[in-house]
Amino acid sequence: MNNDLVLRAATKWLSPVIILFALYVQFHGDYSPGGGFQAGVIFSSAILLYALTYGMQAALQLIPEWVLRLGASLGVLLYAGVGVVAMLKGGNFLNYSVLAEEPVAGQHIGIIIIELGVGLTVASVMVLLFFTFARRVAPE
């Protein structure tokens, strides 16, 4: 976009912190508030901030669109895959208790993996929506 030094400097410092916070919300969601959805939208807001300050070209260099398309599908695949694995292990669809020896340990593994799938899909789709909209803005 334009050469606003304050915005550029602030974004450079803020976006890593936002991404770190998103990862914390993602992987600490079992203990503190948060989870896949929240982490996904926080992550994508960091990318949006970057794209708004540094322009679409830089953002597309950071995350190409095919990565986003892949990520969005992979998240749902991961989620449903956990369900299928649970079925193969003899339980019901999405019954995580059979994933490990201990039911509680299985629940923990299942919840972490499906939250990862949720986060991946939500983050990818949100950024993809922004890219699709922003591409229609005619360059100034």
Binding site: G35, L48, V76
Partner: protein, 185 residues
């Protein structure tokens, strides 16, 4: 203390809503909607729902405001609707009827935090009693969303993906359209 916070947030919410109604500037409107969402996120924190507040703050204030601004930038000017007294009557009546129905509907909602209301008697009690033992996850919201209601959440994620695919199919193939148009010429 929470009463004062609630009061301040609600008053600002009302001010923001009126300001959105009052302003004619679309850019200002988008920004005010962002502020409105931020205040709602604050209210969710007061209501002990930080999970929802995260989502509201990130989606309502951040992403949807940006999407609205991008839409404004891509449509440019020349989309103002000229409103006369005649075109204003029907929406006004509709607003009042809809608002009245919603206020009438709130009478059937159980009082906030009332222990003997229907939702607190059924599954919620079991989730609170056995959630920790069944899943080993201290955050009960995650336990319900990811484990007890895992199938629903799978549906939600699929909805998000479907929405993304829909937008891509509607807006994503601009270049192809251009090529086709020039081929026709």
């Amino acid at each position: 203390m929470s009463l004062i916070v609630n009061l301040v947030l609600l008053v600002f919410l009302l001010v923001m809503a009126l300001a959105v109604l009052k302003t004619r500037h679309l850019f200002a409107m988008a920004m005010l909607f962002g502020l409105y969402s931020l205040l709602v996120a604050g209210l969710f924190v007061v209501l002990d729902a930080p999970d929802v507040a995260f989502t509201e703050a990130a989606v309502g204030t951040g992403i949807s405001t940006v999407l609205m601004l991008v839409t404004l930038a891509s449509t440019k000017s020349g989309h103002e609707l000229v409103s006369t007294a005649k075109t204003r009557v029907a929406p006004l009546i509709m607003c009042f009827v809809m608002g009245g129905v919603l206020i009438y509907g709130t009478h059937d909602i159980a009082e906030l935090g009332k222990i003997d209301s229907a939702p607190h008697q059924q599954v919620a009690a079991r989730y609170i009693k056995d959630g920790q033992k069944d899943t080993g996850v201290p955050n009960l919201v995650t336990a319900v969303l990811a484990s007890y209601r895992g199938f629903d959440t799978l549906g939600e994620v699929t909805v998000v993906l479907t929405a993304g695919i829909g937008v891509l199919m509607l807006l994503g193939n601009r270049r192809k359209l251009r090529v086709k148009e020039s081929a026709n010429e």
